[in-house]
């Protein structure tokens, strides 16, 4: 066992008491308020549902939702786990496609003024299209039963924030930093590698966080307009029309879980790529 007594003369980190609990303890105390709130909401929900005798198709109690989740986990009419997997892959595919295209366009737009003049108005116009309105067309183009059509829906949503944010990150560089590079007679390529790209990384990761959520929305909205029966969107539509709202809620829960997986993955990437950024180093700042 390691001794945890603070040595004399070393100031204790505040708030007091935290240093004793170690890393896990600190994480626990950081998330404790949220955890308590979550448990409280679920408990009140459960209690209210049983006391008020709400009909299950209006507001199924959490216990019924958990039941539906367990019962339909691996098969039957509502194969929840397989569906969540399929939807997750669609969203991930869309996230990758949208991000790659967004990056390519961002680099082109920030490098060549002619590309900016040609592409930006088109991109802004494309972004103005309500995604729901275009879903049937995308389904038609890329095959309603093909995962690719849902990926393209997701990609369409992901593209714009990635393109706009990365363009901003590549171009909004401190003017003095560019003068510094100029004074060293640095080439455009060197400025790109040593200043613009590192500067754009935080912007890119912010866009990824937004894009991850959007990719799930895109994929599920695409599924609403038709697709293989083993996807979250189809389960939601069909279980709701069968008044099996416990299953609907279970599917929504899995959709949220997929979103959390994305988010956590991006937080990990953030810590690796931009440990120096204020958003990551947080309290460590002196």
């Amino acid at each position: 066992m390691t001794s945890v007594a603070p040595s004399v003369g070393v100031p204790l980190p505040s708030p007091l008491g935290r240093q004793r609990t170690g890393r896990f303890g600190r994480a626990l105390s950081d998330y404790l308020p949220a955890l308590v709130a979550f448990v409280a909401i679920v408990a009140i929900w459960e209690f209210a549902a049983s006391r008020l005798q709400t009909r299950p198709y209006v507001m199924p109690p959490p216990s019924a939702i958990i039941n539906a989740l367990v019962e339909n986990w691996s098969g039957g009419r509502w194969p929840l786990f397989a569906s969540a997997q399929h939807t997750f892959i669609e969203a991930l595919g869309g996230l990758v496609i949208g991000t790659v295209i967004g990056l390519v366009v961002a680099f082109a737009v920030s490098r060549w003024a002619s590309a900016r003049d040609a592409v930006l108005p088109v991109a802004v116009a494309a972004n103005a299209i309500p995604i729901i309105a275009i879903a049937p067309i995308i389904n038609n183009w890329f095959g309603v039963l093909e995962p690719l059509s849902k990926m393209m829906m997701a990609a369409l949503l992901v593209f714009f924030p990635v393109m706009i944010n990365v363009t901003r990150g590549l171009t909004q560089v401190e003017p003095a930093a560019l003068e510094l590079m100029r004074s060293y007679a640095a080439s455009e390529g060197e400025i790109l590698r040593k200043v613009r790209i590192p500067n754009a990384l935080p912007f890119f990761l912010t866009a990824l966080k937004v894009g991850a959520t959007l990719s799930l929305i895109g994929a599920i909205v695409g599924e609403y307009f038709g697709g293989s029966s083993e996807v979250v969107g189809r389960i939601v539509v069909q279980s709701a029309s069968a008044l099996r709202f416990d299953v609907t809620w279970a599917a929504i829960l899995l959709g949220a879980a997929a979103g959390i997986v994305f988010y956590l993955a991006i937080v990990v990437i953030e810590r690796v790529l931009i440990p120096w950024h204020p958003s990551v180093r947080g309290e460590e700042r002196q």
């Binding site: 930093a177 007679a185 200043v195 590192p198």
Partner: protein
């Protein structure tokens, strides 16, 4: 054999700089600047804000082109001097990159020069030792104080052994005590490296303490109104700041600055 010609680092002749908008001259930042700076000098450019002292520094460093006249640095056009990496520049903000450690920030110009890793490491260590930040090599800029960050910027500027160090109000953002300490530090570095320095400031004591010559400028249009030799003994120290001659030179610079604003002084009550 060194002729007098070779001893001149910067020669500005008839330099004008106007800023244009829609084909019209909006501001005349510099007008008819003639200046000769010799090797090893420490020159301060001082004047009221808007007198073009920063613009003059940027013209000398080829960060902006003059509208008329010419700048030669080490006997070649300023553009060629920049391509030959004859300059080191320190701005008012340290302009360090947060994604690089202190040591990697100092290495940046060496990377751009295409030096080998071993050469870079040796030189960066040397520079950090010069500004006395060896212990902070692995830190990131945001972990340092403002004064320390500016020392890193100085180390970076000196990494390529530039023949000319351009400094644009480098200590303007620091508190008075840190500034005085940085001034002494800079003099020590200047004596050790023998680099020619052009230093923009609006602090009279700072200019007098640091410089071998103070170039006094006035505004609208920016021009050189006086050049004052600050013949205080070298090396200078905290004692220099208490000598009568130091105060005489401060008074001289102050009067030169006032003389540069005739309209203002005639308006003042007796």
């Amino acid at each position: 054999m060194t002729s007098r010609q070779n001893d001149v680092v910067v020669r500005a002749s008839g330099v004008d700089k106007s800023f244009m908008r829609d084909g019209q001259v909006v501001t005349t930042a510099l007008s008819g600047i003639d200046l000769e700076i010799r090797r090893g000098e420490f020159i301060s450019l001082i004047g009221p804000s808007g007198c073009g002292k920063s613009t003059l520094l940027r013209v000398i460093g080829d960060l902006t082109a003059p509208s008329a006249g010419s700048i030669s640095v080490n006997g070649k056009p300023a553009r060629q001097a920049r391509r030959d990496r004859d300059y080191g520049i320190v701005f008012q903000a340290p302009v360090l990159f947060d994604w690089r450690t202190v040591e990697d920030n100092v290495r940046l110009p060496l990377e751009l020069l295409g030096q080998s890793r071993a050469q870079r490491d040796g030189r960066a260590d040397e520079m950090l030792a010069l500004v006395e930040l060896t212990d902070f090599a692995g830190h990131h800029p945001y972990q340092l104080s403002g004064g320390m960050q500016q020392r890193v910027a100085i180390a970076r500027a000196l990494a390529l052994e530039p023949s000319l160090l351009l400094m644009d109000e480098p200590f303007g953002a620091l508190d008075e005590m840190t500034r005085e300490r940085m001034n002494s530090e800079l003099l020590r570095i200047w004596q050790k490296t023998g680099t020619t320095v052009i230093f923009v400031t609006h602090s009279i004591p700072e200019a007098v303490f640091l410089s071998t010559r103070v170039v006094v400028m006035s505004a609208r249009p920016g021009r050189v109104t006086d050049v004052i030799e600050t013949d205080l003994p070298q090396p200078r120290s905290d004692q220099t700041r208490e000598e009568p001659r130091y105060f005489e030179r401060i008074t001289q610079v102050r009067e030169a600055l006032r003389a540069g604003e005739p309209s203002r002084s005639s308006e003042m009550p007796p």
